[in-house]
Symmetry: D2
Subunit: 402 residues, 4 copies
Amino acid sequence: MSEVKKVVLAYSGGLDTSVILKWLQDVYQCEVVTFTADVGQGEELEPARAKATAAGIKEIYIDDLREEFARDFIFPMFRANTVYEGEYLLGTSIARPLIAKRLIEIANETGADTISHGATGKGNDQVRFELGAYALRPDIKVIAPWREWDLDSRQKLLAYAEEHGIPVEMKKGKTSPYSMDANSLHISYEGRVLEDPWAEPEEDMWRWTVSPENAPDQATYIELSYQSGDIIAIDGVPHTPHEVMAKLNAVAGANGVGRLDIVENRYVGMKSRGCYETPAGTVMLKAHRAIESLTLDREVAHLKDELMPRYASLIYNGYWWSPEREMLQTMINASQVNVNGKVRLKLYKGNVIVVGRASDNSLFDENIATFEADGGAYNQKDAEGFIKLNALRMRIAAKKGR
Amino acid sequence: MSEVKKVVLAYSGGLDTSVILKWLQDVYQCEVVTFTADVGQGEELEPARAKATAAGIKEIYIDDLREEFARDFIFPMFRANTVYEGEYLLGTSIARPLIAKRLIEIANETGADTISHGATGKGNDQVRFELGAYALRPDIKVIAPWREWDLDSRQKLLAYAEEHGIPVEMKKGKTSPYSMDANSLHISYEGRVLEDPWAEPEEDMWRWTVSPENAPDQATYIELSYQSGDIIAIDGVPHTPHEVMAKLNAVAGANGVGRLDIVENRYVGMKSRGCYETPAGTVMLKAHRAIESLTLDREVAHLKDELMPRYASLIYNGYWWSPEREMLQTMINASQVNVNGKVRLKLYKGNVIVVGRASDNSLFDENIATFEADGGAYNQKDAEGFIKLNALRMRIAAKKGR
Amino acid sequence: MSEVKKVVLAYSGGLDTSVILKWLQDVYQCEVVTFTADVGQGEELEPARAKATAAGIKEIYIDDLREEFARDFIFPMFRANTVYEGEYLLGTSIARPLIAKRLIEIANETGADTISHGATGKGNDQVRFELGAYALRPDIKVIAPWREWDLDSRQKLLAYAEEHGIPVEMKKGKTSPYSMDANSLHISYEGRVLEDPWAEPEEDMWRWTVSPENAPDQATYIELSYQSGDIIAIDGVPHTPHEVMAKLNAVAGANGVGRLDIVENRYVGMKSRGCYETPAGTVMLKAHRAIESLTLDREVAHLKDELMPRYASLIYNGYWWSPEREMLQTMINASQVNVNGKVRLKLYKGNVIVVGRASDNSLFDENIATFEADGGAYNQKDAEGFIKLNALRMRIAAKKGR
Amino acid sequence: MSEVKKVVLAYSGGLDTSVILKWLQDVYQCEVVTFTADVGQGEELEPARAKATAAGIKEIYIDDLREEFARDFIFPMFRANTVYEGEYLLGTSIARPLIAKRLIEIANETGADTISHGATGKGNDQVRFELGAYALRPDIKVIAPWREWDLDSRQKLLAYAEEHGIPVEMKKGKTSPYSMDANSLHISYEGRVLEDPWAEPEEDMWRWTVSPENAPDQATYIELSYQSGDIIAIDGVPHTPHEVMAKLNAVAGANGVGRLDIVENRYVGMKSRGCYETPAGTVMLKAHRAIESLTLDREVAHLKDELMPRYASLIYNGYWWSPEREMLQTMINASQVNVNGKVRLKLYKGNVIVVGRASDNSLFDENIATFEADGGAYNQKDAEGFIKLNALRMRIAAKKGR
């Protein structure tokens, strides 16, 4: 156990990080700085301040990061139509590099030599926090209590809390048996009954969306405006990135849009089952592909599609602050300069249906595409040579008996 | 115009190919063999026989290719989770190489030196037919009337038909203003109002699916059984590949599943707008990913995902019979040996929801994945070294001031 | 044959393009503008001016493009360590987009509606010229005489020249039986005896390099300085990009460096055999990899390596002016910001041997890499966790009997 | 420290593994099985037997794995033209999975529960040994003494040896100050002066090759015969895989072929400098590309080239026994079925020059490739349509003002 002078703790005010706070003070005998971020999880942060104060913390950071999160993390990621393993929209993954960045910034501001977090040793989040931290400050020390202590069950944690006078009140509203994470992009559920991949989740697990069954019988139409690949307005009304997230989460969630139930492959080597609600993100993925379908060159689009799985893995695995992610982002951003225009969508009982797309930068050429006579815009005879030369290597091979 | 002795014509019995038949006889003064395939388009083929006979054709081929189509084309393609440009399930594309293969087989059987088809010079289908034909018989001649004649509008075609006594009765049922193509995997719509990407298609365009609005208020649950990546049973009842397609099309279509409305990039260089109904395919894609999520190794799955866009482009562009497609298929097939088990799905008003997956070949390890104490199955301390070494190159860079 | 008013001809002054000049005047009855470029081929251009004048040409462009060629085409390409099919350094390919650009610029300046070139219908160069031209001016017309006329053999060409009084003097120095192309990056040889892939080229074919056998018995050492991935100095003396090419061609050629003899796959579908001399390029590829080996992050380097074959194909196939090439270039350029430093090389009888590399931006950390005790710079125990978690998915699979 | 009953040690008989042997006996109080492999390193193995016997070992395995190594590891790797980071031929990497496999086989035969090796905690070899071992037997225990003990310098090691009566005689022949590894594919050098990337290695470091300067003044020509991508004969004389390695190492080494001096990126996160001699491999890479240039389809070759860096990384990083490597190998092997024929090479003072290639499966078509009149084998007019349609998307974009 190396010497620790001051540690910045990613602190939610919940049971786990409250125990960690106390444990750090006891075991490391060090000063603790708490950092609580609003990344759109929808919880009040002032109780965290009160608890930190009660725990004797002098330096308490409570930051509203919602605009930065949407603008600098969610939006850049959606420019790439990013999906992990064909399904997962990376809701948890994309928030972690922002937390890592703030932890290091606060460590630098407060003269701390160490950061700490409440992620377990089995999950991806520890990797995301720590890779980010090391990349941004290579000499930082990290305390990951779940990898160190022997409080390896709920009971032991509760016993420790009781023993040290840590209040065990639950979050407001109904308590959940699931391990959850929430931010502007999504809310996730893991553990308990979900550990059986054959078991269907119970309806009352879901929090941000109504079920398709309970969604309105009337469809909702919305129109999204894009500039350089980012949404800048909804139904003609300009919005900041975070406002876009909030608006879309509301309207999509109300229409039963955005539930996902998957088995995924963690970076640490195991498969796990997770359920996710990503209402806004589900709409954004579909709509962004639609506006790109009009405005992107074919080969640019295909190159993006081929690189996307790797870009998604980089984010999933915690490499947001790596040079290879930045290199890919440079290319992705460059591709978006003409991704302008609008997309019209129909939301209905879990469905996101594109019903129109238009752009001043459209590459769709009606004169050429038409089934009617095109007045010479396209010479059908060109196709013969095109096919003949594309076939040539296969014809030669066939003649040689392949 | 090179010498043509005998030509095998891909013949549907509809107006276009009936005109082509007559035109070939007139212009090329050659013998014509007609070939009409049942690839699941849902139309009776005997009328085609009658019309061909009436046109004086001696050699008439009418083949039921539905099982071969599902078994050797659709199923292998779905092993790769194949999607073109993030959306399109390649319904038209995957039928063309089978037609090309039969055209060449029939040419070989009948001593024909030429094949002909009714695809236009603007589309992808001409490429798919002809690349396949050249790959399978390099000296074959091809007549693509739409690239040759001057019948470049509907009116001229109808005038030609009338002039030559070709019956212009329409397909049974309601007539469609759209350019359509159908087979066991899908039905497609192009042209007319769809040439405006901002226009929403009218409800009565769709033929194979009810709208989500009109789908039953009660969800339908189905269970699919997989062996080596292919569906072998539905709800425990074994089915042949074509039966799988037929069953799934019925149940998914009845639940409003499978509509798609996109702008896509054609191989010949233009963007075009297409609407598609792919009820079975939409279910199959989702379910196959689910069974793979349990049974595939992570890196195998990721490699498949990275290569998929290229594999999709090969099929879209008409390279089914190319050595690079076969090379990729070898790898894809090899990946599927353990993709066995079952997937439970809920179909509801356009939604396909995975609600369970199970496999004797599952790589999901509950003991390791659990949030509870795992009895040493996983050593959380290992994560520290894992993170430290993965971070090393970034730490070195940061120390050097990057 | 469409109406042509004025045509810009890529004109070397040699027999082929002299015949084309006359043929254009005769057949198209149009005004001709000649464009002759110095891209480092090592021939005097004034004779071309005299011949063009003699042929009655009013607008004669003779441009020294050597610096632009090196700076904006060769250098950016080498930032990617570009090699086509594992061997070819793309000497011809990389000059064509510059020629295409100038043809269009001159057409715009002179009010021409058409361009023309002397590339045959079998090769890649026609594609490179024309894709570039169409991308830069979509309505341009192209006349490719070799695809049109019936002068399909050397004899017919000579007969036409004689008939029309075109001087058939050969290039100065010995005449070559090979089809050749030269510029600052390379000289190429095709045709004749080379059409047999089993035949070894004769020694007197090569023009820019001595044979390894005839190279000096004493090695030559040189030191190259890099800034942002480009060579800026040789042996400490600053040089412009073209000077770099000239210097390196001289020193490498004198040491027998840069010969290549391959069978390659043309974009138009056939295999062809080509011999190349690329003295400077051979040195530059080796040296650039060496400076990158010190200064590039591992994952950035690997991503570049994985994308390089595609980037090489884009250039080989003529897509320099495509959006996907520009998109890739953005990423490649971004990767080079820290590729600074120097590389020391030994040239000896055909060998290019890296003997040293150094950089202020080096990521090589002696303290960590050392085999000696490192004072805690690296904790060997971290490797256990790193291996354990990387092995986890394979261990789970093995336990499940895979 | 977990309970260990019997351990199989990868034992060379040298100082390091002799110390490890003793240390295992002392510290773990367990039975030790020694395993010494002949993978072509060119050292006698009987001394290892004598030493093991002297150390009281009962179960001594000494295996000649040279044919298996060449046939099942080196040859499959060369089918992919495998190169790591553009330079390294993976000589060390490719031997490790074979050692790992034998360690596990011997553990299974002898009832051992543990394996041990002498690789350090900083290098790649520990990863390669252990990933292989875990993949083949998931419950195996691993002892990596360099990560455990405090003998972290040469002096401490020698002191331990002296203290425990371990003979410190050096390898026969001159002793080397470098850290070395040798097998049929290569010999490597690391450490000491090489830790400065600017320092040129001294001539007397190299062991398997003469310098280009000292190579014969007369070139040596050889002819290699290929079947399914593997060399089966040299100069017409059939050889087993290992014989091929031995012969080619001899002839290439005598001609100064195969030296390499690079800075590479280790999997554990640091850069390191290594020098390598790979005489046979250098010839094989060049020759295999040459036979493929005649016999492989273009797109197959390009797909192989794009996947090669990843395949190389898998081997470098120790994932030979992973499902993704096997999946890629399936595809690579499938590509080689027509890679038959012969390649003629000239070896001269460090140069490997391809001077001829021939194959009954050649796809080189002289009739089409010729610069002379081809009698209609290729229709040059086809190129116009080919170019026009390939340019279409760019023309549309240009018309729209891009």
